[in-house]
Subunit: 327 residues, 2 copies
């Protein structure tokens, strides 16, 4: 039984309709549904190994011992896995990202998606997509969306069983590319796990939540019809709504840097030239510009000219999380 | 009767609790109450002269013929004056600001306050503060607050009679200074009169309005107790709430420039050093930093070091609008 291991890979995702705020912080049951595209070429590989010698779980990230905060987050997640499976045993978890940190690609979604899948195999939990998505959600809310490729909706639900992600369109449905304009590699401000707890302190959050289903429907339709203009309107509005809530929380959270705003102000001007462009921003200063694959190199060239843009990364559509090896 | 004239002066004001959106656009009945400080040393002087030779009203601003849009706005206001007074006669209106344009001090409030007072004298309308405040509101909503000095609350009301401003504390109650960091003299984006009409397109406006009375009460208390920390929290939150609504309207309105955000991000850092500082931003890129009089020169020195700040203007507390001459 000892030294058995499982390895899985999963992709990060970028939310088109954002997740911000929980109705239940313990179980990561969100206040509203959300919708993302899974990002290809970038991924996390996670190997989990049972080790009977150990008296606690152990996490390394990119070959380095993870921080105490990350160790505790792993332990809490693994306690859930042991409880759900009725099995015992501490584990060594080795997580590797093939993408750099601090560039606006959240690694917690891909990391917990890969871990949920690998741990499900190792602890003989159900391996169906819904079950693994639910489990991933317990590690990091948005990780439940990284179980699936393409366009993915997280059904908010109201409890552990009803809150999980489904695929609404496969990766080959629409050739979108995420061009990430890196304006800072420093992480300033509050980590998103803490930010979710602050969402309800904004006087605006209840209005944002009350109208989220409308935006989800508009976004779903835009994806189904491959209507880039409709997608642009709803995605940019939804991103602004999340940041509006952030900057009116107590304490107020500002994730934007001056260069972030530079890009936001340039996007509508560039769009007038006919380039399909759509921005969205997560809990950080870097800006995700979505475009169609054929225009990605034009978008990169344009972004590189904007003051404050250090680097531009590409990510095409990505696929499902996968179990690579169980031994 | 011909060639009679009246001259009045009025100060601009800066809103601490913002006015954004009307329940009635025709009568400028606001969706919520607002609260401002009147700005001293800066003022508009307006002379209105009856001229029986004319077949329409005529406006000059700082000695130059005003734009056609401004002429029409004056005519609409004067039509109201003629209707209310039951008197006839077109007028020449000469308006002079002793402060530059485009520096973040809205001239429409002081201009319509001075005009309302001068026109009331000329057309023998009631000259009590409430009546003049109501009339000024018809020209520009926030002008109703510029009739009074010190700290002024605009009681939202529900119709023309119940919507006017009152003084909640005189100018000498608290020695605040408004330090205006000018980052751009260009006016970009939508003028505020049009912006008010867009407020209701934001999914967030109803939440902002529903909570406005709480903030008004907190702000009133902070002023009465001269509690700068409490003032800071509510004023910065309220400013962010207005900009949150603006950037989530359809179309989305961004009044901030990158340098605006530079200042917003520096304020909390500087505050940690013990300087009393509080920002608020109107429908433009320039930032108003409120402080106590004793700290104004420190604040200016600090602001001048922030990248993108072109100039820093001062305005202390200001007094009531005044009738200067009737002849």
């Amino acid at each position: 039984m000892s030294n058995r291991s499982a390895t899985a890979v999963a992709h990060p995702n970028i939310a088109l309709i954002k997740y911000w705020g929980n109705r239940d912080n313990e179980w990561n049951i969100p206040s509203s549904g959300s919708l993302s595209m899974t990002l290809g070429e970038v991924f996390t590989t996670t190997k989990i190994t049972l080790d009977e010698e150990r008296d606690r779980d152990f996490l390394s990230i990119n070959g380095l011992i993870a921080s105490e905060m990350a160790q505790q987050r792993l332990s809490a997640f693994m306690d859930g896995v042991r409880k759900l499976s009725g099995r015992r045993g501490y584990c060594v978890v080795e997580s590797q990202n093939n993408f750099p940190q601090g560039v606006g690609i959240a690694s917690s979604a891909s990391a917990f998606a890969a871990l949920a899948l690998a741990a499900s195999a190792l602890f003989e939990l159900p391996l169906d997509v819904i079950a693994v998505s639910r489990l991933a959600r317990l590690g990091s809310g948005s990780a439940c969306r990284s179980i699936l490729g393409g366009f993915v909706e997280w059904l908010a639900g109201e409890d552990h069983l009803s809150s999980y992600a489904i695929q609404i369109a496969p990766p080959d449905h629409w050739d979108l590319v995420d061009c990430i304009a890196v304006v800072s590699r420093e992480h300033k401000g509050v980590v998103s796990k803490e930010g979710h707890r602050l969402a309800s302190t904004s006087p605006l959050q209840s209005c944002r939540i009350a109208t989220a289903n409308e935006r989800l429907e508009v976004c779903r339709q835009a994806i189904q019809k491959r209507d880039f203009d409709a997608l642009t309107r709803v995605v940019e509005l939804d991103s602004n709504l999340m940041h509006a809530v952030m900057m009116t929380s107590t304490p107020m959270l500002f994730y934007w840097q001056p260069a972030t705003l530079n890009i936001l102000l340039e996007v509508p001007r560039k769009r007038l030239e006919g380039l399909p462009l759509c921005y969205t921003i997560d809990a950080g200063p870097n800006v995700h510009i979505l475009t169609l694959k054929d225009h990605a190199s034009d978008v990169r060239a344009w972004l590189k000219e904007i003051p404050g843009v250090q680097e531009v990364l590409f990510a095409p559509m990505g696929g499902d999380a996968k179990l690579v090896k169980v031994e």
